[in-house]
Amino acid sequence: MNEAQIRERVAAFLAEHDPHGDRLEFLRARYDAGLAWVWFPEGHGGLGAPRELQQVVEHELSATPQLNTGVQAIGLGMAAPTILAFGTEEQKRRFLRPLWTGEEIWCQLFSEPGAGSDLATLGTRAVRDGDEWVVDGQKVWTSGAHHARWAILVARTDPGVPKHRGLTYFVCDMHAPGVEVRPLRQITGEAEFNEVFLTGVRLPDDLRLGEVGDGWRVAQTTLMNERVAIGGAPVRRGGGMVGAVLDAWREHPGLRSHDLHERLLSLWVEAEVTRLSGARLREQLAAGHPGPEGSGMKLSFARLNQELSGFDVEFRRELTYDDWTFRRSEDVDFYGRGPGYRYLRAKGNSIEGGTSEILRNIIAERVLGLPSEPRVDKDVPWKDLPR
């Protein structure tokens, strides 16, 4: 399928469906027409077309009802590709359409208090009981759990084998008895994430994604999609966090000093070369040659966001904060809030979605080919690991 054919399809679809009618009806129809994600198979919202044609569809349909990419982010970015890769036909049919239309929101139950960087060491147990699994454990850093109908969940089904081998991947019913969601307050004062306690939660076996014991491999698909999503967004020159600082800088000439000026110029240069790297990376992707540079973008942006937001607070000499009220927030709103909030929230950028330490390990080993460290947990059954 080529660009012209896609355009024809979209035109035909628009001829039949009024974008000014019912939003949900329109989105369902778009899904059924294969114009949700064109690289997905026919019958599951796609046309089996090359992925780059999606941007043609988005362009043509930009004036029609759009998805809520904030609250749907985990469903679209992480659950969907995993379900596509590992789900049964029945699972794909059941989950993908309402996931895409936003009728059902998804969240992610991976991290645990004791399993952060070393996710594979997680301890939430799933024990088989006939046609069901009984799940017990505690998950953390779950955004959107209080809205979610479903969750992607990794649990330990065999503690007697080394840690990577005893995991199984499930779809968790967030409405099931035993699922308790508690807001998790952050250093910014708000609660963007949740803790999720699972107590005797019963999941039918047909909510299992992939084979028993194959959960680590399934989770890799999810995590790969997560890291591509973070830090991959294009920014214009002087935009993003550096733009927020520059606005203040230009507005308050009386606060400038040579010390701050030299530091800001250095940060501006770093922001610009990072932006250029992102642009180059997207060119490589578009040309079909994805480079290893992607692994570094999140690392670079985390550092820049932290340096720039710290600079901003210092520059303004502001000892105040906009609002400490404990509230739930759905999204990170860097630019709608004050410099103090940005400074504190940016601290999470080097932790969430893989710490900067883990990303450096990944670059060193997978990109630079440096040897791994001596592993002490390789062949040890999970239950015997020191913790």
Binding site: S111, P113, A115, G116, S117, D118, T121, V140, W141, L184, R185, Q186, I187, G189, S257, H258, D259, L260, Q306, G310, V313, E314, R317, E318, L319, T320, Y321, D322, D323, W324, T325, G340, Y343, L344, K347, G348, S350, I351, E352, T355, S356, E357, R360, E373, R375, V376, D377, V380, L385, P386, R387
Partner: protein, 363 residues
């Protein structure tokens, strides 16, 4: 001149540390900062984050409030070294007490005047705040203030970001080289504002024809310089807590079946941080042994950065738990970041060194 701690200082430290461990553990401080700041007048400190009960005990049992006051005026007649050690301990605990503001800066402003208020401050019976922005510095002492005195000796105008004003019984207002005391509620308002530093909030102070008593002459830049020099000891305490707490955590926390503190990249970062803290200790003691403009500028330029770096590293190395409200590391990050701005930024102090150390700028 010595850069070591004296036995007297170490005894004082032990006493303060013991009391704080008992009365002011991190959980207690976290509990206090839950309360919301509100609008209120002078002398209404019921809802303040400041722990005035603890402050009374520190003053009465250990006598910290009068350290810098001569014995003949009712104080302990101690030196800067003792005050610095108290600040190290208060920094380690991010203790919400007005020591730096009342017992150091306000007291130092009053000292040349010999005003009887000194005795009250020394005994902890009263608490004072200097009505100067906490973001002012020895190089820009009037920053954030806009004040005037009318012919009848009444004060009008405002000062932003005044630390500890909301628990002060008396506001000491420097204006054109003269220090005034405002003790009345009438014509003065103190509005606590949400502050980046949860454990030392700032307030907006407004006067509208408030009665002001002339106390004496005041070199406010010198007072701010003294405060800045001693603030370096508080920053040292903040950095030490962050380093020690992080060391304990990385020895305990296992990932990949090893304590994360056994990973070399973590070890090297902590070694570098330790070296920064070692030098912060020397810098803090340098500013005590020789409280010259140069030593103070060096100590502030270095220690302000080290405190921030230590707190930022502590948060990062705690991982997700460091981002949660329930872990106290954020209290230290906020304190460190606020003191980077308070009493002169590192850049202000480095700029002062151009002439103090003979490193002239471009012509």
């Amino acid at each position: 001149m010595t850069l070591l701690y004296s036995d007297v200082e170490e005894e004082l430290r032990a006493a303060v540390r013991g009391l704080l461990a008992d009365r002011c553990p991190p959980a207690a401080v976290l509990g206090r900062v839950e309360s919301e700041p509100g609008r209120r007048g002078l002398l209404d400190s019921v809802n303040s984050v400041y722990d005035l009960g603890l402050w009374k005990t520190l003053a009465a049992e250990i006598g910290v409030a009068g350290l810098l006051v001569p014995e003949e005026l009712g104080g302990a007649g101690a030196g800067l070294g003792e005050a610095a050690v108290v600040l190290e301990e208060l920094g380690r605990a991010v203790a919400p007490v007005p020591f730096l503001t009342s017992a150091v800066m306000a007291t130092r402003a009053l000292l040349p005047t010999g005003d009887p208020l000194l005795g009250e401050l020394a005994e902890g019976r009263a608490t004072a705040a200097l009505a100067v922005s906490f973001a002012a510095s020895p190089y820009a002492p009037g920053r954030g203030a806009s004040l005037r005195l009318d012919a009848g000796g009444r004060l009008s105008g405002s000062v932003d970001q005044v630390a500890s004003a909301d628990v002060a019984d008396v506001l000491l207002v420097p204006l054109d080289g003269v220090l005034y005391a405002v003790e009345a509620v009438e014509g003065a308002s103190v509005e606590a504002v949400p502050s980046l530093d949860l454990t030392r909030p700032v307030a907006s102070v407004r006067f509208d024809g408030a009665a002001a008593r002339r106390v004496g002459e005041c070199d406010v830049a010198e007072v701010l310089r003294l405060g800045a020099g001693l603030l370096a000891s508080e920053q040292l305490g903040v950095a030490e807590w962050c380093l020690e707490t992080t060391l304990a955590y990385v020895k305990e926390r296992h990932q990949f079946a090893r304590p994360i503190g056994s990973f070399q990249a973590i070890k090297h970062r902590l070694a570098d941080l330790w070296l920064d803290v070692v030098r912060a200790r020397a810098a803090a003691r340098g500013a005590v042994a020789d409280p010259s403009p140069l030593s103070v500028a060096v100590a502030q330029a270095w220690n302000a950065e080290v405190a921030v770096r230590a707190a930022e590293e502590a948060l990062q190395l705690h991982g997700g738990i460091g981002m949660t409200w329930e872990h106290p590391v954020h209290l230290y990050l906020k304190r460190a970041k606020a003191t980077q701005i308070a009493l002169g930024t590192p850049g202000d102090h480095r700029a002062a060194l151009a002439s103090l150390a003979g490193v002239p700028g471009p012509e």
